[in-house]
């Protein structure tokens, strides 16, 4: 197994897809936005809670980890749809191109270097088209949610 992939799995995917990273009880709430990948059953739900948003990923470990990270970021930046949309687009760019240098900047005043590095580690999925969408689903959902909120 390549060192980079192993590091990605153990340091990012396993850590953030673990049950203790779960976004918490959402049974009493209705998601305001849902995005699914019918080809594998992955599903991302966005919960708009006024002051923050929570993102729940269901399905494979990469989908769950990606959603969990998005929730953690939203906790840090608050329910700021512009910032969240910016981060979502940056992540989609990283996942699409594998480039981290030319990607839209992750707002460094809100995301610490450890988290930024973690986000950049997803760039290796650009070369794995079979798994890219597992991570992208969260950011696509977040970007769609931001657009919907924007257009109201």
């Amino acid at each position: 197994m390549s060192d980079r992939w192993e590091a990605f799995l153990s340091e990012t995917v396993r850590r953030y897809s673990a049950p203790e990273r779960d976004v918490g009880d959402t049974t009493a709430t209705t998601p305001c936005h849902i995005l699914e990948n019918a080809s594998c059953g992955d599903r991302v739900e966005i919960y708009d809670e006024g002051t923050t948003v929570r993102v729940r990923g269901r399905g494979c470990s990469i989908c769950r980890a990606s959603a969990s990270i998005a929730t953690e970021i939203a906790r840090a930046v608050g329910r700021d749809r512009e910032i969240l949309a910016e981060i979502a687009l940056a992540m989609l760019n990283i996942l699409g191109t594998g480039e981290t240098a030319g990607a839209p900047e992750l707002p460094s005043d809100m995301i610490d270097e450890d988290m930024a590095e973690r986000l950049r580690s997803f760039s290796l999925l650009a070369d794995r088209p079979g798994r890219r969408r597992c991570a992208a689903l969260t950011w696509e959902a977040l970007a769609e949610w931001a657009r919907r909120v924007d257009s109201r």
Partner: protein
């Protein structure tokens, strides 16, 4: 003379098996998606392109005649592989199983079916043997009916009896599930269809490459299959059909090569099979498929089938011993071939697939173009390991060791 099955020698004929993936030697268990190609098939395709790359039919020069002879020879070999009798049937080259089914759907079913008629399918079908019939039903007013499955997605004689009735005009059924490897009782299906006067199409995408086939014994009216699942190239396949049906069917596509006489306002059609092969065909593909058919016949379809059965029994027993493995399609290896589908408790199939990939093991994960079957099992996808003539027990051992590691790490 009893031939021994020399898997090592066979493996030596497949160049891809010498490749490394993610730094590990390749274990290829995705044969239901596509099979690997032996050197002689690659050479046959290459020779056509390098040495006699001319268009077929009507060329009066040697280059074209050589291409025509090779193309016709390919058709003969494909017919021989499936035991087709020239006097009553024909084989048409298509792009693959999907197109073969679409030929029947659009050139036959659309013209003969109407309201009140029933098309009988099963929920285990690949989407390519399901979606065309939904379209035919929508356009003709015919109704879709399904043969019920039991818990393990098998079909009982009683279910066949219930589904196929007086209104049935067509039964379209897989010869072997691409998800579970289950081989439905085609003999019972054909017998019941005959009783009610219905036609039978067999989706042979998986079946033909893994079993000795005699269309005369099966008794089906149509058999659709692909070159790339049987050691041939992609983009080529075949439709076997009874000659009487092909005679009454209109062409599927129109243009060059499928015509007899063309006027400004009217055209008559060429004879079968050209009537169904409009335009310049995939000549190199057909030659490759013909060579693949000869390779399989020389290797021996009985021997291939026995070898795969041994692998299926072996892997099923190994997986059965693991309490954290859920297998799909039942434990009855008598009616299954070459495929095992499963999940590990608490681990998504894509995660298993990616981990196996890191060890050079290629499996397929997801719904395998069979969403209704996934719904039957109540899951979104499985890990599918599918075997072919070049796979070995040693590869399965390596696969099992890796699975145990996957479970330790990911669960």
């Amino acid at each position: 003379m009893v031939r021994t099955y020399d898997v090592k020698a066979l493996r030596g004929q497949f160049p891809v098996l010498a490749e490394h993936m993610r730094g590990e030697s390749l274990t290829y268990f995705d044969n239901s998606a596509t099979s690997l190609k032996p050197e002689r098939v690659l050479t046959a395709i290459d020779r056509y392109n390098r040495e006699y790359s001319a268009n077929i039919h009507r060329g009066v020069y040697e280059l074209s005649e050589r291409a025509t002879v090779a193309y016709d020879e390919a058709r003969r070999s494909v017919k021989e592989l499936i035991g087709a009798d020239d006097s009553v049937s024909e084989v048409i080259f298509t792009r693959g199983t999907t197109e073969s089914i679409n030929v029947v759907a659009f050139a036959w079913a659309l013209t003969v079916l109407g309201p009140g008629d029933e098309i009988v399918l099963t929920p285990i079908e690949h989407h390519s043997n399901l979606v065309p019939w939904q379209q035919v039903a929508r356009r003709t007013g015919a109704t879709l009916r399904y043969i019920e499955l039991d818990e393990s997605a098998s079909i009982s004689p009683a279910a066949i009896e219930r589904a196929i009735g007086p209104a049935t005009r067509l039964v379209s059924i897989t010869g072997m599930s691409n998800v579970t490897g289950y081989v439905p009782p085609l003999d019972l299906v054909v017998e019941r269809a005959r009783e009610v006067g219905a036609r039978v199409l067999v989706d042979g995408a998986q079946y033909v490459s893994h079993h000795p086939v005699s269309v005369e014994e099966i008794g089906c009216d149509f058999l659709a299959f692909s070159g790339h699942k049987m050691c041939g190239p992609t983009g080529i396949g075949a439709l076997y059909a009874k000659r009487e049906l092909l005679e009454e069917m209109d062409p599927y596509q129109f243009g060059g090569d499928m015509i007899d006489r063309v006027g400004l306002y009217e055209t008559s059609w060429a004879r079968i099979p050209e009537k169904f092969e409009a335009g310049t065909p995939n000549i190199a593909g057909a030659i490759g498929m013909g060579e693949a058919a000869r390779f399989l016949m020389e290797t021996g379809m009985e021997a291939i089938s026995r070898h795969e059965r041994d692998l299926t029994v072996y892997v099923t027993e190994r997986l059965d011993a693991l309490p954290w493995v859920q297998q799909y399609g039942g434990h009855d290896t008598e009616h299954r071939a070459g495929i095992c589908s499963f999940n590990l408790t608490g681990v998504h199939s894509h995660d298993v697939g990616s981990f196996l990939d890191q060890k050079g093991i290629a499996v397929r994960t997801g719904f395998h173009c069979a969403q209704p079957l996934m719904s039957h099992f109540g899951i979104s996808g499985t890990v599918r390991a599918s075997f072919y003539l070049y796979n070995t027990r040693e590869e399965i051992d390596r696969f099992m060791e890796t699975l145990e590691r996957v479970y330790q790490i990911l669960n």
